[in-house]
Amino acid sequence: MANTEEQLEALTSAFSGLGVDEKILISVLGKANADDRKSYRKGIQFFAEDDRSFEKWEDDHVQQLEREFSRFKNAMVYWTMHPWERDARMAKNALLKGAQSYNVIAEIACTRSSEELLGARKAYHSLYDHSIEEDLAVNVSGPECKLLVALVSAYRYEGSKVNEETAKSEAKIFCNAVKDASKNPVEDEEVIRILTTRSKLHISTLYKHYKEICGNSMDEDLDKESLLKVTVQCLSTPEAYFSKALDDALNGEAEEHTKDALTRVIVTQADANLQKITEEYHHKYRVNISDKIDEEVNGNYKDFLLTVLARGR
């Protein structure tokens, strides 16, 4: 009979972290008879002795496992889906989850090309018989509503022409809006206008000028958790934004909606920017993302992510 101490550790780890380790679960639990399984329950931290004489599984953990077992499924479904349908579904889910997930909507709106975003909006029609504009307008409250609806409606110019002077003067407008203590910059008409209509190249140029004009970089000046900051980052420095999202997701203490970024970023960026994102990740956090994933993630889900990351190398 194998070392129970080892098996307990293996099972604990198979049931912890992102995804589940299907192989270990099968090889250890599959062989276990009723007595073995009872002794596992008595040994693993997720169970507690109940007053009515049975080893009760912590409810939170059972719910957690539902999510962890689904991570691979969700990843595969999103991976196989047409990107337009995928983006439409992700946006809809984010809308349903509420304010904590609005960053996902901004992320989709700002990191896709004009035609990709358009495609997602059309797919949304097919899936939900409404435009995403109308659903956002009705369900999002507060100043973020205007920003999100306008971001999602954008059909930006993608050519190489930029007016340097305009970018400079709009950087100044931005700076004034941020420095204005009386008002949240997301409520500033001009900020909204610039972020939701200008081309990405224009905004990147503006981003560069901002530091010269304002002293700090836009990253430093904008409120940490704000939708405005997500918007600016996605439009001007998407690799930095995505690498941070990945790091946050792999942080053991992350909340559910933060963890979801792991699948989302890798699946949605695999055919676009993933190479640059992993380089940025390495540069910022001094570790390969593959190594980090190997540590923190389990099973089929892990294998899938690593396979995607290894493509085209």
Binding site: A150, Y155, T197
Partner: protein, 313 residues
Amino acid sequence: MASLIAPEEFSAVADAEALKKAFHGWGTNEKGVIAILGHRNAAQRKMIWKAYEEKYQENFIKRLESELSGHFEKAVYRWVLDPADRDAVLVNLAIKKVPDPRVIVEMSCVKAPEDLLIVKRAYQIRYKRSMEEDIASHTSGDMRKFLVALVGVHRYDGGEIDTKLAKSEADILNKAIKENLLTHEEIIRIITTRSKAQLMATRNHYKDAHGISLSKHLAENPANEFLSALLTAIKCLTEPKRYYEKVLRTAIKQKGTDEDALTRVIVTRAEVDLEEIKDLYYKRNSVTLENAVAKETSGHYKAFLLTLLGKQD
């Protein structure tokens, strides 16, 4: 139905040669220009343009502009442009002129969502900026929000409607209008995001529930540019042909005919639904549109408009 009369068989090269002949020497044979261009559809005109430039190695538009003048020249120039490009030009002119919201509202609301997209692409190609950013940077306040949203939305284009929603939104609109539209937010939201089918349901319900049509109710308020734009939007979204009839009627009746409006409607609708607009005009005014136009315009401009209106030579 189109009012334009164009032959099925034609030769682009022969037409190009005939046009060159019409330009030749002192003065221009305007009748010749009208006889050809006034009887060719968009696809045919495109081929003639190409044939002309290939054969004569000269810019067709510049030649037209130098040979023709006045309202006639403006009309022919607009007529010759590819329809999407034409709309892009008209919008750009409207943006620069004060700006005139009417043209922007008209274009974005009458068009089907896919056609609006084509115009936006044409705009980006021609002006190296997006239509949204130009509109946004030349307007402010509610008007800006409204126009940018109208141009940005990609409305659900299916027939699904929610009757309950139509009723509740009709009530929301009614309340907002009665409160003197102090808050434009909900009106803007409804008009700039709902599908055309949904808006028609809302409009129909409005009359049933509140005894007065939505248009009439909006028109009751003392004239102000923003309300006028709202009203135009509703008319264009729900009954575009009646809207165009009114534009024509106003353009003709006003002191010193509004040639720009006359040209715009006739040139942009000749290949779409000008026949039906003519019928509406006759029903409303007891005089045919051709006769009204003949009375208020003169010269080659008149001849050209009449040709587009379907006058048999």
